[in-house]
C-alpha cells in the first residue's frame, strides 16, 4: 500500500473531523469551568494578532505613536488575560483530576505549554526597549548566568530575545496548543470522579 494511502487511512480512523470537532459532549461537561481552556486560546489569538501589528511597524513604533501605544496596550492586557485564563484552567483541570484514564500526557503537554508561555512572556518583557526591559535584562542575566544558560541565551542581546519572542517561541506555543487540543479531542473529556467511594481510576 502506498505511504500516502496508509497516512490517509490512519488519519481517517484516528482523526476524523467528527472526532476533532464533535457537535456533542458527555452530559457531565456542564460547568463554566470548562470554558477556561477556550478562553486561554482566545487570549493567545489576540496576542498573535496584536503581536503581528506590533512586529509590522517595528519595535520603536509604539513608543512614539498613539496608535502604536494602544496596540501595545492591547498586547499587554492580552498577556494578562492569557495567563489569567491559563492558570484558572490549570486549577479547574487539577480539581477535576483531568489526567486520569490515560490523560497524563495531556496534562504534561499542558504544563510544558505553561512553562514555554512563561518563557515567551519573559522574552517579550525583554523586548520592550524601556526601563522595565533594561532592568529585567540586567537582573535576569545573573539568574541565567548562575546556571550557565546565559552563555547561550543572552538576555542583554535584544536581537536574540526579540527573535525568540516573535518567531521561535510563538510557533512553539502554537504547536503545543495544537497537540494539547488534539489529545483532548482524541481521548474525550475525563469522566467525573466516581462518587460511590470506589478507587480512583488511573
Amino acid at each position: 500500500m502506498s505511504m500516502t494511502r496508509r497516512t490517509q487511512e490512519a488519519l481517517a480512523s484516528n482523526l476524523p473531523y467528527e472526532e476533532l470537532l464533535p457537535s456533542e459532549q458527555p452530559a457531565y461537561v456542564h460547568s463554566y469551568v470548562y470554558l477556561f481552556g477556550v478562553a486561554t486560546i482566545a487570549g493567545f489569538i489576540v496576542l498573535i494578532a496584536t503581536g503581528i501589528i506590533l512586529a509590522a511597524f517595528g519595535p520603536q513604533w509604539w513608543h512614539f505613536s498613539a496608535v502604536g501605544h494602544f496596540f501595545n496596550g492591547l498586547h499587554f492586557w492580552a498577556v494578562q488575560a492569557f495567563f489569567f485564563f491559563m492558570v484558572v484552567h490549570l486549577w479547574a483541570t487539577f480539581f477535576q483530576g483531568a489526567w486520569r484514564d490515560g490523560r497524563g500526557t495531556t496534562w504534561a503537554v499542558g504544563v510544558i505549554t505553561f512553562l514555554v508561555s512563561i518563557l515567551t512572556a519573559f522574552t517579550g518583557y525583554l523586548s520592550q526597549q524601556n526601563f522595565d526591559a533594561q532592568w529585567i535584562a540586567v537582573q535576569a542575566k545573573d539568574a541565567m548566568n548562575s546556571v550557565g544558560v546565559g552563555a547561550f541565551f543572552n538576555v542583554l542581546n535584544f536581537g536574540q530575545m526579540y527573535g525568540f519572542h516573535i518567531v521561535i517561541l510563538p510557533i512553539a506555543v502554537a504547536i503545543l496548543i495544537a497537540i494539547h487540543l488534539t489529545m483532548v479531542r482524541l481521548r474525550g473529556v475525563v469522566k467525573p470522579y466516581p462518587i460511590d467511594g470506589t478507587e480512583v481510576q488511573r
Binding site: 460547568s31 463554566y32 479547574a92
Partner: protein, 46 residues
C-alpha cells in the same frame, strides 16, 4: 496608573495592588465558574 505605586504587605510579603487585584479576580472568577449554575437542559424524568 503610572503614579506612585501602591503596595500592601504582611511580614515578608509585599504585593502590588495591580498584582493583588489580578490574583483576587482569578480566585473570584474560578469560584463563580464552579458555583454558578450552567444553563442548558438536564435529562428530564422518563
Amino acid at each position: 496608573m503610572n503614579g506612585v505605586q501602591d503596595y500592601v504587605g504582611w511580614g515578608f510579603v509585599h504585593i502590588s495592588i495591580g498584582n493583588l487585584v489580578v490574583i483576587i479576580l482569578m480566585i473570584l472568577i474560578f469560584a463563580l465558574a464552579v458555583l454558578l449554575p450552567f444553563p442548558g437542559g438536564q435529562e428530564s424524568e422518563r
